[in-house]
C-alpha cells in the first residue's frame, strides 16, 4: 500500500525525468531560443532536487541555494537573449546550425 505522503524518491525520480527531457531537447532542437528554454527546464529539475533534499535533511540551505540558482538563471537568460538578438540583427535567423563560421 502507498505511504500517506510521496517519498522523497518520487520527487527525485520526477526531477531526473525532467532533467533528461531538457537534455534531449537541448540536443535535438536547433532554435537557439528553444535551446535556452530546455536549459531552464534542466535548471528547474535541479531546483526540485534541492528542495526535496532540503526537506529530507531538514536544512534550509537547500532552499537558499535554489534562490541563488534562480538569480543566476535570470542573469543567464538576459545575457543569452541579448546574444540571440545581436546575432539575429546580423544573420536574420537564430538557428544554431547556420552559425558554423568557426567550423574549419
Amino acid at each position: 500500500m502507498l505511504a500517506s505522503a510521496p517519498p522523497p524518491e518520487a520527487y527525485l525520480v520526477l526531477s531526473a525525468l525532467l532533467f533528461a527531457a531538457g537534455a534531449v531537447g537541448l540536443l535535438v532542437r536547433r532554435n537557439a531560443l528553444i535551446m535556452f528554454m530546455c536549459i531552464e527546464l534542466m535548471l528547474n529539475a535541479v531546483n526540485l532536487t534541492f528542495v526535496t533534499y532540503a526537506r529530507e535533511l531538514d536544512d534550509l540551505g537547500g532552499q537558499v541555494t535554489v534562490f541563488f540558482v534562480l538569480v543566476v538563471a535570470a542573469a543567464e537568460v538576459v545575457v543569452g537573449l541579448g546574444i540571440v538578438v545581436s546575432i539575429f540583427r546580423r544573420r536574420r535567423n537564430a538557428t544554431a546550425d547556420d552559425l558554423s563560421l568557426l567550423k574549419g
Binding site: Y11, A16, A20, A21, V28, C38, D59, Q63, N93, D97
Partner: protein, 196 residues
C-alpha cells in the same frame, strides 16, 4: 492527499516538458514552459517551500517567460521550425539514447542508493516560523557574502545585455563583416550574376 497534489503537479510538469521539446512553434514551447514552471511551484508548496513557490511563479513564469516571448515577437522568429529535417544523420536517435541513459543512471542512483548526509545543525527548518521569515534570516546572516556577490552579478548581466543588444551608431557598424557573412540565398544570386 499529498499523493494527489504530487501526481497532478508531476503530470503538469511532464506535459509541459514534453511540449517544450516537441512543439515546433517557439510561442507554443514558451507557453508549455509556463506549465512546467507552475507544476514545479505546486511541488515546492507540497514540500513546504512557500517562498520559493512564490518566487518561482513571479520570476520564472512571470518575467523570464515574458522575456522569451518579447524576444520571439520582436525578432519575428515565431516561424515554425521544420522538425522533419534532421540536421545530422542519426542525431535524433543519438540524442534520445543519451537522454534515456541520463534518466536511467539518475533513477538508478535514486532507487539503489539511500539518502545520506547529516541533518543540518546550521539552519534547521523550524516549523513554527514562516518559511519566508526563515529564509530571510538565513540569507542575510549565513549567506550574506553570496547575496552581495549576486548583486554584482546582476549589474554585470544588465550592462552586458545592454551592450550586446543596443542599436549601434552608424560609425560603429562593421559593414565589411556583414558582407563577409552573407545569407546563403544572397551568395546564390551573386554567383548567378557572375555566370551571366
Amino acid at each position: 492527499m499529498e499523493w494527489v497534489v504530487f501526481v497532478l503537479g508531476a503530470l503538469i510538469c511532464a506535459l509541459g516538458a514534453f511540449g517544450v521539446v516537441t512543439r515546433s512553434n517557439p510561442v507554443h514551447a514558451a507557453l508549455s514552459l509556463i506549465g512546467t514552471f507552475f507544476g514545479i511551484a505546486v511541488l515546492f508548496i507540497a514540500q513546504d517551500a512557500e517562498f520559493l513557490a512564490a518566487v518561482q511563479v513571479i520570476v520564472y513564469a512571470g518575467s523570464i517567460v515574458v522575456l522569451f516571448l518579447f524576444v520571439i515577437m520582436l525578432l519575428g522568429v515565431d516561424t515554425a521550425e521544420d522538425l522533419e529535417v534532421e540536421p545530422i544523420t542519426g542525431q535524433r536517435t543519438a540524442a534520445v539514447v543519451a537522454g534515456v541513459a541520463i534518466a536511467a543512471v539518475l533513477i538508478f542512483v535514486v532507487v539503489a542508493g539511500a539518502i545520506t548526509g547529516a541533518t543540518s545543525s546550521a539552519a534547521p527548518i523550524d516549523t513554527d516560523v514562516a518559511n519566508p521569515v526563515q529564509i530571510g534570516r538565513v540569507l542575510f546572516t549565513d549567506y550574506l557574502w553570496a547575496f552581495e556577490i549576486t548583486s554584482i552579478l546582476l549589474v554585470i548581466a544588465v550592462v552586458g545585455a545592454v551592450t550586446l543588444a543596443r542599436h549601434r551608431p552608424d560609425g560603429m557598424v562593421d559593414d565589411e563583416l556583414v558582407d563577409e557573412l552573407p545569407a546563403p540565398a544572397v551568395v546564390a544570386v551573386d554567383e548567378g550574376e557572375v555566370a551571366t
